[in-house]
Symmetry: C2
Amino acid sequence: MDSAKLSKIMKALSNQTRLELYLQIAKQSEANFETGCECLITDIVGSLSIGAPTISHHLKELANADLIITERRGKFLAARINKETIQASSAILSLVEK
Amino acid sequence: MDSAKLSKIMKALSNQTRLELYLQIAKQSEANFETGCECLITDIVGSLSIGAPTISHHLKELANADLIITERRGKFLAARINKETIQASSAILSLVEK
DNA sequence: CTTACAATTCGATACTTATCAAATTATAAA
DNA sequence: TTTATAATTTGATAAGTATCGAATTGTAAG
């Protein structure tokens, strides 16, 4: 991964609201792992103090950085984190690989 | 670590030039580990295509996010990365801890 | 003390972006 | 087909920031 890609990932996590959105998706994915349920965005909208348009905007940036994967579920939108991206990023920053 | 702190760290790494600056410091710290030499900023200034004022600005942001530790060495400035910060960040994002 | 060099501060500018309100699209239910 | 809800798009604005040139400060060497 080059520095352009990595900085794009970091930028996606640099906004506090967007970071909390990401962590919430991660948390729900974890919590719902056994049940097989996914994280539905509509459940998150209420818990964050920003409007739906802004959340839509943030989701697109997270997806664009390959941090999450979204899929339509009828009227709703499901999201899950892309573990490969965050693990590859961590590896570079922690200098696990050179 | 709360999301405000973590987003600040991510923001510090969200600019490509600043990220490369960080990685360069990390690389030199690694390379000079055996010799005990530190990473001198003056050696980096030449290798990045931006002016000294901008580098000074970026360094302050990295230090302010606790990503690096700087120290004056006479006329020069030495920098080394703060491994604790990057490891704690990685842990949260990778959900190693909850 | 003067000179030279590394780094910082200051002021300005161009660019990016987070957020919202309003309008629109997509989908399921009635 | 109409209605209701979820999500997106659009347009606008306010706030933030990366970068530079010029001036300044800190420090060592001559």
